[in-house]
Structure formats: structure tokens, C-alpha cells
């Protein structure tokens, strides 16, 4: 997989090579979904996340890390399962949640509340 793979769904997949630059050196609110294509829960989350990304596109960036490929990133952030969302504000982790309910209101709340506190 390429380092920056903007898939046709509009959420950029980032890797260990680009994580530092895109997330830790990034400005503003950023949500990173640690996922795997083989995880059915991630599959259920996918259309909801697409909606959320569209809704939040001016306020927050959403990236995806495939832990089946980037296991080192999963270790680094102590990911215990998928999907796990880790939220960063100006490069600092400000929140995380694992397995949110795959409905748009829950996901939007989970992706925005940590930045409001």
C-alpha cells in the first residue's frame, strides 16, 4: 500500500511513514481510526464514518490506520482492538474510544466532544 493512500471513499489512509507528519505535527483536531478491513465492526462503521467525515470536513480531519499493516503504530498507541478512534489536538492525544455504536449521532458526538472540553 502506498504511504498516502487517499482511497476512493475520501478518508486518507496513513502509515507509519506519514503518521508523524500528518497527525503529530498536524494542527487542529484530528481523529485517527485504527481499523482493519477484516473487522466486521469496522465495516459497519465505514459508511457512518464517511458521513461523519463529510459533515466534519471543515472542522476536523479524519484519517485511517490499518493495524494489520501498521502493527507498530497499533503498539505505539496501545490499541487493544478495532475500531479504536484516537483523537489528537495539535498533535497531542486528547481522547480515545473503542467500538462506538455505528450510528451517525453517536459517532459525531464521540468525534467532537473531546475537542469541546
Amino acid at each position: 500500500m502506498k504511504a498516502d493512500d487517499r482511497s476512493e471513499d475520501g478518508i486518507t489512509t496513513i502509515t507509519g511513514d506519514t503518521f508523524e507528519r500528518m497527525v503529530l505535527e498536524g494542527n487542529g483536531p484530528i481523529a485517527v481510526e485504527f481499523m482493519s478491513y477484516s473487522c466486521a465492526h469496522c465495516g459497519a462503521m465505514e459508511p457512518v464514518l464517511q458521513q461523519a467525515a463529510e459533515f466534519l470536513k471543515d472542522k476536523e480531519r479524519i484519517f485511517r490506520v490499518n493495524i494489520a499493516i501498521d502493527e507498530d503504530l497499533a503498539r505505539r498507541f496501545e490499541i487493544e482492538g478495532t475500531p479504536t478512534f484516537v483523537l489528537f489536538l495539535n498533535g497531542r492525544e486528547v481522547g480515545r474510544m473503542g467500538g462506538p455504536s455505528p450510528d451517525i449521532s453517536s459517532v459525531l458526538a464521540e468525534l467532537t466532544q473531546p475537542f469541546e472540553g
Binding site: 493512500d5 477484516s38 497499533a74 490499541i79 479504536t84 473503542g98 467500538g99
Partner: protein, 177 residues
């Protein structure tokens, strides 16, 4: 080109079935009638096999990629696998039989596949998603039975979450930050 059965390599139920298909295909003389291949994690690689193949869809149900570029999925993929294997092709013709405008045996196979797909979480596949409502009581019963027998592994405590099979070794923060 040989038909390709794509399977979920993370699901042990699927792996066992794929292993059986692979062994059965090798039994015939000459080239195998079908090859098996795990879906993997690269959406672009899958699209090279078939431009219409979406990786999420590939994980949602088994697919057989046909030499003519078409795809068969779910129960139709199962029927195709039966047609390709030397030890099952003798009866696989029944799935193509039309009666009263329908394919009754294919419909039965589709239903059987749906049941198998639904009970995969019951068979220990945690990556296969939440059990369907009708399976949930069976999962609860299975967990109770495991508790009674001293087996502590249960379905994920968080409903929409797939716990990692193997906990990842922790990297000291000093090494990475």
C-alpha cells in the same frame, strides 16, 4: 485462468473451509479446478483482480472470481466451489435446476449459507461482527457453558469492538516518542 475463491483469512471458520477447498481441489489430476486466496488488506490489489471488487464487500461474504471476469458471492459462490471440486461436482448440478421460475436448491443453499454466516460469531469468530439478533441467545448460552466449563474467553465486552487476537507487545514510550 482458474476460478479464485477469496476468503477471510482472519476468521478461523473461513480458514478451515478454505483449507478443505484447497485440499479437495488438489485431489484431482492436472491443475486444480479452483484456487483459494486470502482477501488480504490491500484494496488496490483486490481491484487488480476485479475492478468491481470492494474490499469491505469481499470481507462481508465469500466471492469466487470467474475466469470471464464475473463474480459470484455468498451462496452462489458456495455452489460454484462445489462445481469446481472433484468430490462435489457430481451433485453441484442441482443448484442450477430451475423449477417454476426459481432455483429451489440454490435458494436452500443460500439459506444454509446465511445461517452459517450468522453463526460464525458463535463458532468463535470475533472479527465477524455482532451476532444477528436470532443468534444472540445462542451466544449467551455458549458463554454460560464456557463459564461452567472453566473457559473464560467470551464475546467482546464492548458490543461493536473486535479485540485483538494477540495482545500487541507494548513498546516503551521512550523508544517511540
Amino acid at each position: 485462468m482458474t476460478p479464485i475463491l477469496l476468503f477471510d483469512g482472519e476468521c478461523h471458520v473461513c480458514r478451515r473451509i478454505a483449507h478443505w477447498v484447497e485440499n479437495s481441489a488438489r485431489r484431482q489430476s492436472g491443475p486444480p479446478g479452483i484456487v483459494v486466496r486470502p482477501i488480504g488488506q490491500d484494496p488496490a490489489a483486490l481491484r487488480l483482480l476485479n475492478p468491481d471488487l470492494d474490499i469491505w464487500e469481499a470481507y462481508a461474504a465469500p466471492h469466487v472470481l470467474m475466469p470471464d471476469g464475473s463474480m459470484k458471492r455468498a451462496g452462489y459462490a458456495v455452489a460454484e466451489v462445489f462445481r469446481c471440486l472433484p468430490n462435489t461436482k457430481w451433485f453441484a448440478g442441482i443448484f442450477a435446476i430451475h423449477m417454476f421460475g426459481t432455483q429451489p436448491f440454490q435458494i436452500m443453499l443460500n439459506a444454509a449459507y446465511d445461517v452459517l454466516a450468522d453463526i460464525r460469531p458463535l463458532l468463535g469468530c470475533e472479527s465477524c461482527g455482532r451476532p444477528r439478533p436470532w443468534v444472540s441467545p445462542l451466544v449467551w448460552l455458549a458463554n454460560q457453558a464456557k463459564s461452567l466449563t472453566g473457559c473464560t474467553r467470551k464475546a467482546a465486552a464492548i458490543p461493536h469492538f473486535t479485540s485483538l487476537h494477540k495482545p500487541l507487545a507494548r513498546v516503551p514510550p521512550s523508544a517511540v516518542r
